[in-house]
């Protein structure tokens, strides 16, 4: 299941360009955007467009790059490690539902168009009720990240996708500040004017789930790197605290979680690149369950291993915990994904004729 040379090269290039856009070693930009509106950088957004990231999964005939999940997870992992505040995954979900001039503006990064799909807390699959009748949208959507920075929203309804401008008088946006310094929007549509969009690909939601898991993987690895560096520097009782076996073993447990998360996510990407169906859904849920739990374990232990300095807002390690607190439950928490994994894996095994 190893990637061929061409795809390895894609992954290498994506990682390199990601490092240039979002630097994992310097979080001053991230700090500057915290608790401000819209909370992310339009210049960075346009850069993302120029690099072709916003259409990464979109087929070439639709103006996208037509790359696979292995490439997407490499990119979102890097963005996670740098704690990039841009609502990249939500925009990626939206491009799947756009056409024509809207799509073009979204792909170049001129416009920020975000997906509005969730209607209940802890919702992933399942029915939505927002209506789209005679060009008018009514209903409520939750958890749209960085909604204040959006120019428009791609809204899922049983009647198909509707594209609604952010400034439409029939749309009101309520903001909830989040722990990572960003926010999410609750969108209330009251006869807002909508243009028809297009139905997203079947794998659309699972791709966003896995991309979020990979963002958490980036957070996990960056947190671990910083923590191990700290153990190698900080001195107490006259020695580096990294010489203490209790701390060494705790750090190893975190490394174990990091490796398992990577194995789970890269395995899921390979399965999803092979095709859709219950096995792919099971794999994305398995990876998200692992990543959500592992990210909270690693980031909270990192605070403990940093001691007092880790409890200050001044030190960067806390930024990783706060980001994990937002992303771990986003697009389904670990309990939801464990259930979903079992459900779809049972279907996948039955399809292959394995005993349940």
């Amino acid at each position: 299941m190893a990637l061929d040379e061409e795809r390895l090269e894609n992954v290498r290039m994506l990682r390199e360009s990601a490092a240039a856009v979002a630097d994992r070693s310097d979080l001053s930009r991230v700090r500057a955007q915290r608790f401000r509106q819209p909370g992310f950088d339009r210049a960075v957004w346009r850069q993302m467009g120029e690099l072709g990231w916003l259409g990464l999964r979109l087929p070439e005939e639709r103006g996208g790059a037509g790359l696979g999940m292995a490439e997407l997870i490499a990119l979102t992992e890097e963005l996670g490690a740098a704690l990039a505040p841009e609502p990249f995954i939500s925009a990626l979900m939206a491009t799947d539902m756009l056409d024509g001039a809207r799509l073009e503006a979204a792909l170049t990064g001129e416009a920020v168009i975000l997906a509005a799909w969730q209607e209940k807390p802890r919702q992933l699959d399942g029915e939505v009720e927002t209506s789209f009748v005679d060009g008018r949208v009514s209903g409520r959507k939750l958890q749209v990240p960085m909604a204040l920075g959006a120019d428009a929203f791609a809204v899922t309804t049983p009647q198909g996708v509707a594209i609604v401008d952010a400034g439409d008088p029939g749309l009101s946006i309520e903001i909830t500040p989040a722990q990572d310094g960003g926010h999410w929007g609750t969108l209330t549509f009251n006869g807002a004017r909508g243009e028809p969009g297009r139905a997203p690909r079947e794998s659309w939601l699972d791709e966003a789930v896995l991309a979020t898991a990979a963002t958490l993987l980036g957070i996990i690895d960056a947190t671990l790197e910083r923590t191990v560096d700290y153990l190698n520097v900080r001195q107490q009782f006259g020695v580096k605290i990294g010489t203490f076996q209790a701390l060494q073993h705790r750090a190893v447990d975190l490394k174990q979680q990091a490796l398992l998360t990577r194995a789970s996510i890269e395995d899921a990407a390979a399965i999803m690149d092979e095709g859709q169906g219950p096995a792919a859904k099971a794999a994305s849920s398995r990876a998200k369950a692992r990543a959500s739990d592992a990210a909270l374990i690693v980031t909270r232990q990192a605070i403990q291993l940093h001691g007092g300095i880790g409890y200050t807002d001044e030190h960067d390690i806390g930024l990783f915990l706060r980001k994990a607190m937002v992303l771990a439950p986003s697009l389904g928490d670990s309990a939801l994904h464990r259930r979903r994994f079992a459900q779809f894996q049972t279907q996948a095994d039955a399809k292959e004729g394995l005993p349940a």
């Binding site: 010489t243 060494q248 190893v252 490796l259 789970s264 464990r338 994994f341």
Partner: protein, 387 residues
């Protein structure tokens, strides 16, 4: 060896799928049905028919080169061989000769030693055991004290080995002995070959926590062997032993034990009427997910071997993860069994429902092959580069 349709000149010329099919057919046709999925490690008298069948087809030593009578399998074909044997539930034979001693001799032994010993392993004439651990040298193996002193043309050995697998069944032991007491502890160790029937060798079985007797203590009291029984260079035994750790380390991290225990979980929960309990189900799903993630991790390391590269120190994480997952599953089984978790014998004689047996067996996994604590020390130093 009488050749069969399973005896090929070059197994590596087969595609992976064809080779896998060949292994499956071989097991279906040749493995004694009554030895499938044994509940304990088989002794030599029990495993002998299967050993001789493997020998007859030239399938005993997948890891040895063809020229020495092995199958000469590439790393990726070896993995397939092991995977299929595990999936089938093939009985493990006394395999220290093939797995550990053969590769040692092929790499470090003299031509005379190879010509003398290797064919006798393949024919079943010599069964080997391994003499590494001692009462005061377990996790800290390099502090071993069993001593060999040269007296004319003979080594004189005194000391004790322990945790010797199937020691009572073996004809020979390959052992680490201290040959230079003055040197730094890793530098005064050598490899010696000793017949178990030598005067002064005595074996005492160890009854383990699960009341099985596959391990033993081996005592050496002025045991004399010829000088020529030294393998490789004098005082270089430690680095030789370390160099042989490659394939065994991934073997200890294979998902087989966890998968074996997990496969019994659902039936157990159904037997005890708790399968539909949502708390039981969430825990079950968590362990299922843990097992799938472990398999994905295992595949990453297997891929490294398939590419012909060497494993790094991080393979310790694989062993650590497997053994701890195996224990978590076994602990959940014990919990599901309720009062029967205290039963000595299986319910209705059904070993699949015997949670306490699996629970006790699993205790050893975090101790042997480098205890979890030692693995964590290794990873902290060599992977995380902590001071």
């Amino acid at each position: 060896m009488s050749a069969s349709r399973y005896t090929l000149d070059d197994y590596n010329a087969l595609g992976d799928d064809d080779f896998r099919a060949l292994v499956r057919d071989f097991l279906k046709e040749c493995h004694p049905p009554e030895l499938r999925n044994p509940v304990k490690r088989l002794h030599w008298d029990e495993a002998k028919p299967w050993y001789m069948e493997l020998s007859r087809h030239g399938w005993l030593a997948p890891n040895w080169p063809k020229q020495y009578g092995g199958m000469g399998l590439s790393a990726s074909k070896q993995l397939i061989y092991v995977e299929e044997f595990e999936n089938f539930g093939a009985a493990r034979t006394p395999d220290h000769g093939m797995m550990l001693f053969g590769p040692l001799l092929i790499r470090y032994g003299s031509e005379e030693q190879k010509a003398h010993f290797l064919p006798k392993i393949l024919s079943g004439e010599h069964i080997w055991c391994q003499g590494y651990s001692e009462p005061n040298a377990g996790s800290d193996l390099a502090s071993l004290r069993t001593q060999a002193v040269l007296d004319g043309d003979e080594w004189v050995i005194n000391g004790q080995k322990t945790w010797t697998t199937l020691g009572g069944d073996a004809d020979w032991i390959f052992m680490l002995v201290r040959t230079d007491p003055a040197a730094k502890k890793q530098e005064g160790i050598s490899f010696l070959l000793v017949p178990m029937k030598s005067k002064g060798v005595s074996v005492k079985p160890i009854v383990n926590l699960d009341l099985q007797d596959e391990f033993s203590e081996v005592f050496f009291d002025d045991v004399r062997v010829p000088k020529a029984n030294l393998v490789g260079e004098l005082n270089k035994g430690w680095s030789m032993a370390k160099a042989l750790l490659g394939f065994e380390r991934i073997f200890l991290g294979s998902p087989r034990q966890s998968a074996h225990a997990f496969a019994r979980l659902k039936g157990l929960a159904q037997h005890y009427g708790v399968w539909d309990d949502p708390i039981v189900r969430d825990r079950y799903n968590q362990l299922w997910l843990d097992l799938e993630d472990h398999k994905a991790l295992y595949e990453r390391f297997a891929d490294i071997l398939r590419r012909g590269e060497t494993l790094g120190a991080d393979v310790s994480l694989l062993k650590l993860n497997q053994s701890e997952l195996y224990q978590r599953i076994s602990e959940f089984m014990l919990q599901i069994a309720g009062e029967d978790g205290g039963r000595l014998e299986p319910v209705d004689g059904n070993a699949d429902l015997h949670a306490p047996g699996i629970f006790l067996t699993a205790r050893a996994a975090t101790i042997y092959g480098g205890a979890s604590e030692v693995q964590r020390n290794i990873i902290a130093k060599n992977v995380l580069r902590l001071p």
